[in-house]
């Protein structure tokens, strides 16, 4: 029987929900942060046969450590393949990658994502209010992956009617637009947020609320969304993470580097604490190859 975790953070809930988007048959492209953790959790729990693919060139790694980026050294520990970035993306354009998990800073109702720049008042691409990292591989994943899962926190002004810059295409302007643009991939299938799970209507391609997290209300979600959000007639409450899922996360991410609950973002960790924490984490895991 499933045992639900009693204590968990919202990031952990997001990683758990996100991991459930992956199955044994998936060849999954995972991005930095929660997507990375979701892939690792899926592989360690319900989808041991899932093949995780990293942009840097790693396929099917088995490691006692968790990658912090899409091309760290753990991405090829005991891997099936250690190859090039170009090869992985070409394989994706060919259609081999079944699912990609990506994040965004701004999103619209058709699942188009902005990770390039927030223009702000009177701003422009060349002179934005906030410069963001850029596409990385997100545009390519959104363009050519069989389906994409988007991970984003619900924040005011992020779920908007019109994003400043389409970095990664969702359904563009709606039904038929991806095909017309010449895109190969299937487009977004879900948006995992910190309050609920969204899906896309098969006809209208519009994002709708599919499920809410324990204790949330639809109103608490709608207040973050600029457009008139549709809600599934079959709306349900999602299960919390299991103890097993949370344990995997704590083992893989002892310092909260990925999920940020004990994030390094705040301060500088003493090197010895870092060294000991990693040593302990490695020793706590055994691999079967």
């Amino acid at each position: 029987m499933k045992k639900y975790a009693e204590n968990y953070s919202i990031s952990e809930m997001m990683a758990a929900v996100c991991s459930l988007q992956l199955s044994n048959d998936d060849v999954a492209f995972v991005g930095v942060g929660i997507p990375l953790m979701a892939g690792a959790v899926a592989a360690a729990t319900h989808a041991p046969e899932v093949t995780i693919v990293y942009e840097g060139g790693g396929v099917g790694a088995r490691s006692r450590r968790m990658p912090w980026t899409i091309s760290d050294t753990p991405t090829t520990d005991n891997a099936l393949v250690a190859s090039t970035m170009n090869r992985i993306f070409s394989d994706q354009q060919r259609g081999y990658i079944t699912v990609g998990i990506i994040g965004g800073a701004e999103i619209d109702k058709f699942g188009n994502l902005n990770t390039t720049a927030i223009f702000g008042k009177g701003g422009s691409y060349d002179h934005p209010q906030v410069r963001l990292p850029g596409s990385g591989g997100a545009n390519d994943i959104a363009s050519s992956c069989q389906r994409t899962v988007i991970v984003m926190r619900l924040q005011k002004g992020k779920f908007v009617n019109k994003i400043d810059f389409i970095t990664s295409p969702g359904f563009l302007s709606g039904p038929g637009a991806r095909e017309k643009a010449g895109l190969l991939g299937g487009g977004p299938s879900a948006v995992v947020t910190d309050r609920g799970l969204f899906k896309f209507d098969a006809e209208t391609k519009e994002m709708y609320l599919d499920a809410i997290y324990p204790g949330m209300t639809v109103e608490q979600i709608k207040e973050y969304i600029d457009w008139d959000l549709k809600v599934s007639p079959h709306l349900y409450e999602m299960e919390p993470p299991t103890e097993e899922q949370i344990e995997v996360m704590h083992t893989l991410d002892p310092m909260g580097t990925v999920l940020g609950s004990k994030s390094l973002k705040g301060g500088i960790q003493p090197f010895d604490v870092y060294y000991e924490a990693l040593k302990k984490s490695y020793q706590s895991r055994t691999l079967s190859l």
């Binding site: 942009e55 840097g56 912090w68 520990d77 209010q129 410069r131 390519d140 970095t167 090197f271």
Partner: protein
């Protein structure tokens, strides 16, 4: 076998100049940090950076005012922080404004691939429908003459110089890379001058033991620099793991312009060379980073022999 070895100072002095175009090899792991320090020390300006994704070395060089233009998919420091320096440059023009021509990782790689193949462009089904095309006039969308509909063309990139850090090279530049390879196979062929920095220069006979592992051939290489721990605080597969606390120090400092200038002063300008930098980081600390990596991954030993030798 040609001996192309030189010091990092010589290589940076000879193969970079104000206004040059520059590629930086690999992604996160194997990004050449020591090279970034030396370019900053030599005071290079108005460089055009042409890359896919570059993290810490780009942030450092942005802070030091090396770049006037970047053609890339992603310039940032992921997970542990954010790109304070690139933000300050683009949003506020501090220390100088940087123009960014946007691509995605795949299409930035295709540009290097086109350059590496001697072609003027390559086609792709990425980018279509996105504003990357809107804001990049050099990407052309044509109607596929074979009938698949719209297809995007990206222009070849042939930067003046690239620095690629690898685990091992011989003195002529035959390089074997372990772990993920990023776009280094194409970057090394796209660029006019290819400078290899490596953890270890090995005899050519070591390379010949497993020629399928050679990613970069000598005929593409201009110079070889032996540079152990050349990527600290980033990682190198089989050699050493990331020094995140160190990176945190840089990111913390980067929150303010004064902070990052003090950091650069301490860790770059006041440091003579890479050897002195490693002493300052601490040899003991480096040994522990090596241990953290090698607890999980070491470059395998290759026992290569013929039947007669068995």
């Amino acid at each position: 076998m040609k001996d192309k070895r030189m010091t990092l100072k010589e290589a940076v002095s000879k193969y970079t100049w104000d206004g040059c175009s520059l590629n930086i090899g690999s992604i996160c792991a194997r990004e050449p940090m020591a090279v970034a320090h030396e370019i900053i020390r030599q005071g290079r300006k108005n460089i055009t950076l042409i890359t896919d994704t570059t993290s810490d070395p780009a942030e450092l060089m942005v802070a030091a005012g090396c770049f006037s233009r970047i053609e890339a998919a992603y310039i940032w420091i992921g997970v542990v922080g954010q790109g304070y320096n690139i933000r300050r440059a683009v949003e506020e023009g501090i220390p100088n404004y940087i123009e960014i021509e946007p691509y995605s990782n795949y299409t930035a790689g295709l540009r290097l691939m086109a350059g590496a193949m001697g072609l003027p462009f390559l086609p792709t089904k990425s980018l279509l429908g996105s504003d990357i095309i809107t804001h990049n006039p050099r990407i052309k969308v044509i109607d596929d003459p074979y009938g698949s509909g719209p297809i995007a063309l990206v222009p070849a990139a042939n930067p003046d110089t690239t620095f690629i850090h690898v685990q091992r090279s011989d003195m002529a530049g035959n390089c074997q890379i372990w772990g993920m390879m990023g776009n280094d196979d194409f970057a090394s062929r796209a660029c006019k001058n290819v400078i290899i920095t490596c953890e270890e220069v090995v005899p050519t006979s070591e390379i010949r033991k497993i020629p399928n592992m050679t990613v970069i051939p000598e005929y593409a290489v201009s110079a070889v620099v032996e540079l152990p721990f050349g990527c600290h605080p980033l990682s190198v597969t089989g050699c050493y793991w990331m020094d995140n606390p160190f990176r945190q120090g840089f990111i913390q400092a980067s929150r303010t312009r004064d902070g990052v200038m003090a950091w650069l002063d301490e860790w770059v300008y006041q440091v003579e060379d890479h050897g002195q930098y490693l002493d300052k980081v601490g040899r003991d600390r480096l040994a522990k980073l090596q241990e953290l990596e090698q607890d999980n991954c070491m470059i395998p030993e290759i026992i290569s022999r013929t039947r007669e030798e068995m």
